[in-house]
Assembly symmetry: C2
Homo-oligomer: 200 residues x 2
């Protein structure tokens, strides 16, 4: 590790453009089969790569999965516009593209659940890549609504900011029903907004 830079190794160079393709294949298999159901052969086949190519880059299945989760394309939630109302901000999070992205992350998380208790490192990685970003954004929307005086200052936004993610997760993992726009609207208009005293 220490002399990776200093040693100008000879021979054919590793084709690092394949890294993202392999990690993407790993996420696909993970979302489809879960951690225990996923095999290295599946990932290699999906990426049209040899198994040795994978083991040359990651020392084990566990490390490959952690890297795949860590490198998941981060959604650009910061780019969401400030619409001036809490409802407008929340609706901005349920555009088709954002829903699709969240759905993929939820499917990956489904495959990871059984591993979270076995691998703290994976649990931490998954939290930072999947769970935390949306929670922070939602919480920020609510804090903005308090700051502008739109909702009560004593609203329990720590709890309220987890309502949407919790119900989407429950609907996917337990109920195994689609998290579509209609469902998310009923969460916003039937739970969150009434809870902060807004009646749309």
């Amino acid at each position: 590790m220490t002399q990776l830079e200093t040693a100008p190794r000879l021979g054919r160079k590793r084709d690092h453009t394949r890294d993202p393709e392999i990690l993407e294949a790993a996420l696909d298999v993970l979302a489809e089969s879960g951690y225990d159901g996923m095999t290295i052969d599946m990932v290699a086949a999906r990426a049209k790569a040899g198994k040795a190519t994978l083991y040359r880059r990651w020392p084990s299945k566990a490390e490959l999965v952690i890297d795949a989760v860590a490198c998941m394309k981060k959604t650009n939630l910061d780019a969401l516009p400030d619409t001036g109302t809490l409802r407008g901000d929340l609706l901005g999070m349920i555009k088709p593209h954002t829903i699709e992205d969240a759905d993929r992350k939820l499917k990956v998380m489904t495959g990871l659940v059984s591993m979270l208790s076995r691998s703290p490192e994976l649990a931490d990685t998954a939290y930072q890549a999947i769970t935390d970003p949306r929670a922070r954004t939602t919480r920020m929307f609510m804090q903005r609504a308090i700051d502008r005086g739109e909702i009560r200052a004593d609203a329990d936004i720590d709890t309220l900011s987890m309502v949407s993610a919790s119900m989407a997760t429950y609907r996917t993992l337990i109920l195994r029903k689609p998290v579509d726009r209609e469902f998310l609207l009923s969460v916003i208009d039937g739970v969150i907004l009434p809870a902060v005293g807004l009646t749309p």
Copy 2:
């Protein structure tokens, strides 16, 4: 199957008092290691039984798990008193004993999640044994509150009745934090009651 009653088979009889012990052991291992991590040897060892004894009663690991989930001790939610207020009814669901029971079910469900998509039969069994009973009870509490005029008749109780289960599930599976009385109180007083227009 058809002549189980008519044929008075000879030899030592199967000791059916061991069935619940074995199923209980299976649930323990399931909650601890998840479906894929669970082995028949673990269950047999925990139940102090031989592997052959298990296979004499259930044809496969999958069938054993389905039976174990189906036979989970049902909580007596119907025995909860009608306190006259929605908050009182909801508080009745977070007595220590009820929380403990829900915690066990949640741990079992954690171990099942990865299997739900692979085995529709298990998914159905888990739904009926774990998911559905609490949802029905919560929904009934809310309907009662509407009927007695305590909360608005147009409250979205289909969605609201899933808030508590969703947030408890999310907290267990994803955040891996304890679902204690304090957390449940913040869900009730910070989300559900405000959402139906009650300010305790």
